[in-house]
């Protein structure tokens, strides 16, 4: 019984949040990794693309809420999501036309693209703050829990409760669907294969008649979709704040690099590795330890390895360790 309680406490405070956060990171890292493989640079504007997509979704959500449209027990934001994705696609394609394309024509070096993405980052960041303001926005509505801690206790008779928030359930389900669709697209469709071919060997792709501009366009469309979904899921789970989204860049980059830049499977694995280490290392283990250990050994302190404020430090430490021992990331990315 004690062990079961410990297990439930662990799942409740570590397992569920880490799986949800890991899914969000994984979808974000997939976007970064796609840009890295096809356009061959790390997109510093990715966090702000996520913020933009989420912002549009929030605005549409408010519109729906104002009009009395709701999605039953699910958050209205899910209804607004397609609109968010569409507008973000438009913005990203517009950016590509007006900004990035010129540098492709010049055959600019990747590091120049990185600089350009810094400019885009500033502009998108400014745009989002200009439209919705820098403050915190909560937009999750509908049923808050799939299972609340109290129901769980009643159901099982255990001392510990297990709560699963609707947003966490949605995150995991969406992540599974998105990842399955993405892998199907990359591995089974002609366009997806042409993207992989272009990433593998640009010259040969040209010789095979693959149009680079089309490949780039599809890449941006997918990246916009992934960024918006990741952003909305994160926002539903926690809350939306432009600066937080900008800062998500670090764990997302870390996930992509830990898994191996350019490798989609790596991005997913990296997302979960980063999420689990962040949550486990900053979690106060007192509760679990009290259940597992005999009474005489029960800890006095919180048994927290590091304070939660150090979550960035954790993702970064994992990153350095992986890079020191496996410089191409766990799933052998393109380089590093």
């Amino acid at each position: 019984m004690e062990l079961l309680n410990a297990l439930v406490a662990f799942t409740n405070f570590v397992g569920v949040p880490a799986i949800a956060y890991g899914s969000q990171l994984a979808i974000g890292a997939l976007g970064v990794t796609l840009v890295y493989s096809v356009l061959r640079f790390s997109n510093f504007a990715h966090g702000d693309t996520m913020a933009f997509g989420t912002m549009v979704t929030i605005l549409v959500t408010w519109l729906f809420q104002g009009a009395g449209i709701s999605f039953g027990p699910l958050p209205t934001a899910l209804l607004a999501l397609p609109f968010g994705i569409a507008v973000t696609m438009g913005l990203v394609l517009f950016t590509d036309r007006t900004v990035y394309r010129f540098y492709r024509e010049q055959k600019a070096k990747p590091v120049v693209f990185v600089m350009v993405s810094l400019g885009v980052m500033f502009m998108m960041n400014g745009l989002v703050r200009f439209i919705i303001g820098p403050g915190d926005q909560r937009f999750a509505d509908g049923e808050r829990f799939i299972i609340s801690a109290r129901d769980f206790k009643k159901m099982t008779g255990l001392d510990e409760g297990l709560a699963i928030k609707t947003s966490q359930g949605i995150t995991v389900v969406t992540a599974i669907i998105v990842v399955a669709l993405l892998f199907w697209f990359l591995n089974k469709t002609r366009t997806g294969k042409s993207m992989r071919a272009y990433s593998d060997n640009e010259d040969l792709a040209l010789l095979s008649g693959i149009n680079p501009e089309r490949v780039v366009m599809y890449t941006w469309l997918i990246v916009a979709t992934l960024a918006t979904i990741a952003g909305v899921l994160y926002g539903l789970d926690k809350s939306f704040k432009p600066f937080t989204y900008f800062q998500l860049l670090l764990p997302i980059f870390a996930s992509a690099i830990v898994g191996g830049l350019g490798s989609p499977i790596g991005a997913i694995a990296g997302g979960f590795i980063i999420a689990f280490s962040e949550v486990t290392i900053t979690y106060a283990w007192k509760k679990v330890a009290t259940y597992v250990l005999p009474e005489t050994m029960a800890p006095d302190g919180l048994v927290q390895l590091l304070s939660t404020d150090y979550k960035f430090a954790v993702s970064f430490a994992i990153l350095i360790i992986v890079l020191l021992f496996k410089p191409t990331g766990i799933f052998k990315g393109k380089s590093v």
Binding site: Y36, S37, R40, F41, S42, Y103, R104, E105, Q106, K107, A108, K109, P110, V111, V112, V114, R190, K193, S194, R196, A197, S199, D200, N201, E202, D203, L204, A205, L206, L207, S208, G209, I210, P212, F253, I257, L261, G262, K334, S335, V336
Partner: protein
């Protein structure tokens, strides 16, 4: 430092932000093709006629160089290192700035076309290096070869598998895991998937063992027997001329000797200078 400020990377090699894997080197990625025009009169099926030119704005490497091939023939370009063999082939394929002279395919002047458009016109090209998609399976490589085709290409794929049975066996393996000779087969197979009207091979036997080389040559002859004209650059001059219907010996970007393979092999001058006696 290069002249183009957008290509200035200051020697940065930070792998977390830049990806150089598979980056393209072909310049005319965005160049638009010029017009083509019908040419009257008798002319070989594919001919690079009196070509003079070089890379970009650089100095001329080719001088009045002529290369031609007809259906059912294997034409081989040989010559010493730095003679401009590969350059001549790239000129025919449009990867070079041809300042004078012309390239004609099937009675059409295609000098102004980009390489991509030449592929559409029916030219299949197998580069010397990086000629396969290493991270993709053999079958996906072939599919990518057929990218411009909108019809059903399963027959062509069967033909390629028939020609290179080992590829059928390894169809689901990533091409990068294959041996050197097998990779070359994938590369040729990929080019054949477009059902080209002419096949151009840039040193297909570079870096493979002599046994594999013989096997590759056998396959190339087999392809030529189907009536497909083959233009090939070869380092192994002797073996290549033995299977060649037509041979071009280039020296410093100029045609030095031209003739059938047997004629060139018999020519004492050619033997002395290039074939080691």
């Amino acid at each position: 430092m290069s002249g183009n400020p957008y290509q200035e990377d200051r020697g940065n090699k930070d792998a977390t932000i830049t990806n150089t894997h598979g980056a393209g080197t072909m310049q005319p990625a965005h160049r638009k093709s010029g017009p083509t025009k019908k040419v009257e009169g008798d002319s070989p099926f594919l001919i690079g006629d009196c070509m003079t030119g070089g890379y970009g704005k650089g100095p001329d490497i080719l001088h009045d160089c002529t290369i031609a091939v007809n259906p059912g023939e294997i034409a081989v370009i040989v010559g010493p290192n730095g003679a401009g063999k590969s350059t001549a082939m790239k000129a025919v394929f449009g990867m070079l700035n041809v300042r004078s002279g012309s390239v004609r395919l099937d009675g059409e002047d295609i000098t102004q076309l980009t390489p991509q458009d030449r592929v559409v016109k029916g030219m299949g090209f197998v580069p010397q290096t990086s000629n396969i998609f290493t991270s993709m399976t053999v079958e996906e490589n072939l599919e990518m070869g057929a990218f411009i085709r909108t019809d059903d290409f399963s027959n062509t794929m069967e033909q390629v598998y028939h020609l290179f049975p080992i590829l059928k066996e390894k169809r689901n393996q990533p091409a990068g895991e294959l041996s050197g000779g097998q990779r070359q087969q994938v590369a040729v197979g990929r080019a054949l998937m477009t059902q080209p009207k002419v096949l151009m091979l840039d040193e297909p036997t570079a870096g493979v063992s002599p046994i594999v080389m013989d096997e590759l040559f056998d396959r190339i002859i087999e392809v030529a027997r189907t009536g497909l004209p083959i233009l090939m650059v070869e380092q192994n001059a002797k073996q290549a001329l033995e299977i060649a219907d037509k041979g071009y010996v280039l020296v410093q970007g100029r045609n030095a000797y031209t003739g059938t393979g047997q004629e060139l092999l018999a020519d004492p001058e050619v033997r002395k200078s290039f074939l080691g006696g």
